[in-house]
């Protein structure tokens, strides 16, 4: 057990609360920096992909986990970012400019998609975003002269300072940089008034309003920040995948993004990262254990979706707070080690209340 005596208010505000944290996060960064030395090119691409999804997860977590707005159209923001980046890269824009443009354009689309959020909540918002996502997908497919339509679009590699950032360690470090920056932005927002306003909207719109929080402003702000994250991640994604087509950004993809934050643990920043790791690692793990399965099962066509669905169900069933929840328990277990009591984490009966009145 660790007791921290606080003597100044700043201590609550600081990024790092104590030396233990400093040590572990430091270690994590060092490990992340060291990965290219050990990883195969394939693994490195996967790691980059993971970092890219982490950025999306951060954004979606801000929206779904902290502002309480459901988005079933997040792939659309990714698509806007990815296509903007591709088109601008082809037009020869320098990377940092084009990536900024991708984020910005996605944010603008985010504001537009966020507009229904001003009138509808919960489930309805989910459907509205789903509808919007589908329409964006269709628009991309139709705007053939810009996006290449259903035939797809090849994305040129990033050229930065005369160097090629197409793949390998260079691209990985680029993604890492963006992911760390995204994490910092998210944490900073959450420890300041904006983040608290988001949480207020999530918990009670009516009293958020009487505290002077302008619902429309903050909801659209949350949508646009979240979309900007997805847009920037989409831009990186475009370079990692190098081939864009509208069917990479469907409703199913949006649902998978949402799945990612739920499995990771809704309402926590760590959870976002865990979710991204899960989403990318699971197919790898399934492939890795395939040789161990009976061949009939290993060759079964529906294996991957089945396992995906099963993991999602098991997570919600046994660990509603997702991977992050499990992580917390593990930590508590070790912190308390000899004093750990069995009933401590027993789940209570829970009772659902109507969302229609919020």
């Amino acid at each position: 057990m660790r007791f921290i005596f606080k003597t100044r208010y700043e201590q609550d505000i600081n990024l790092i609360q104590h030396n233990g944290q400093l040590f572990w996060y430091g270690l994590l960064i060092v490990a992340l920096l060291a990965i290219p030395a050990a990883a195969s090119p394939y693994l490195l691409t996967q790691m980059s992909q993971m970092l890219i999804y982490t950025i999306i997860a951060f954004g979606l977590m801000l929206l779904a986990g902290f502002t309480g707005q459901m988005s079933l159209g997040h792939a659309a923001f990714m698509a806007v970012g990815a296509y903007t980046e591709a088109v601008l890269a082809i037009a020869g824009w320098p990377f940092f400019l084009s990536v900024a443009a991708s984020g910005l354009l996605a944010a603008i689309v985010g504001v537009i998609i966020g507009l229904p959020a001003l009138r509808v909540k919960g489930l309805y918002l989910g459907i509205a975003t789903l509808a919007f996502g589908t329409i964006v997908e269709e628009v991309i497919a139709r705007a053939e002269h810009v996006t290449g339509g259903n035939a797809g679009l090849m994305v040129p590699p990033i050229q930065l300072f005369g160097l090629r950032f197409a793949d390998g360690p260079a691209f990985y470090y680029l993604c890492l940089g963006f992911a760390i920056a995204a994490a910092l932005v998210l944490i900073n927002l959450l420890r300041s008034p904006t983040g608290r306003a988001f949480v207020a909207i999530r918990d009670s719109e009516i009293s958020a309003q009487s505290m002077g929080v302008h619902l429309a402003t903050y909801k659209t702000l949350s949508f646009s920040i979240s979309a900007a994250f997805a847009g920037v991640a989409g831009a990186l994604y475009a370079h990692n995948i190098r081939f864009l087509s509208p069917d990479q950004f469907t409703v199913v993809q949006s649902i998978e993004l949402l799945m990612m934050v739920v499995i990771g643990g809704l309402g926590s920043i760590h959870g976002a990262a865990f979710g991204a790791i899960f989403l990318i690692a699971l197919p790898q793990v399934i492939n890795a254990v395939k040789p161990l399965m009976p061949s009939a099962l290993a060759e079964a066509t529906g294996l991957q979706p089945t396992i995906f669905g099963m993991m999602l169900i098991l997570t919600v069933l046994f660990e509603p707070l997702g991977i992050y929840g499990a992580w917390l328990k593990l930590k508590a277990y070790f912190d308390l080690f000899p004093f750990y009591r069995k009933g401590m984490f027993r789940r209570q009966k829970a009772f659902q209340k109507s969302d229609r009145l919020k």
């Binding site: 009933g343 401590m344 984490f345 209570q348 009966k349 009772f351 109507s354 229609r356 009145l357």
Partner: protein
Amino acid sequence: MTAPVLTEPILTLANVEAAYGAVKAIRGVSLSVAKGAIVTVLGANGAGKTTILKTISGILDPQKGAITFKGEPIDRRDPAEIVRRGLSHSPEGREVFPLLSVRNNLLMGAFTRSDRDEIARDLELVESYFPILKERADQEAGLLSGGQQQMLAISRALMSRPDLLLLDEPSLGLSPKLTQDIFSIVKRVNRERGVTILLVEQNAAMALETADFGYILEHGRIVMEDSCAKLRDKDDVKEFYLGLKDVGVRGHRRWKKKKMWR
């Protein structure tokens, strides 16, 4: 007041402990409610009164201890099943069905019953207690005022014709006049229909006047139990629960006196 004939207990709690996650809310509570009696539990904010009631009606599973209702154990049962055994609970926070009409709310109170005529008669009865419920029969319950919802919650609990009625702060948010009415209704229901009542109240004066037997709860423990007549005589009860000092509870002192349970 004449003490009613105290028969065997209809409800007993033996050494019950309940917790919210890692927070223990009640610790080793033992109490018993005699059949036909009105029993009250008093205690400060956060003492665990609501928790006791929730544990009895199965909303919360006790970690330890046993709860017996009509001679059978009811701990760790499905709440709906406990209700069907003849227990009814008017919860803290009203908990009406906001989008159902007032009438349907009341009918849901009688969900476990199938005697149509009797239900109709009970409906008339509760509507005579609180005429507003009849006036607003078709209004959505969620749009009632706070006090009206409270009346609805109590009436709804009565509609199941329980053997044991748990009332959690029934007077919360009611006007002084209705508060008096509520307690007389409680008494009437108890006398006329033989319903046993377990009452949790902040209005200690009223509670002690209405009930036969009382428990005092502090920090999740029962610190005192006695007949209400005797409880009303204790100095600490007078001071902390009845406010019977010349000038308020603490006079003009802003600091708090420690309670010393004797």
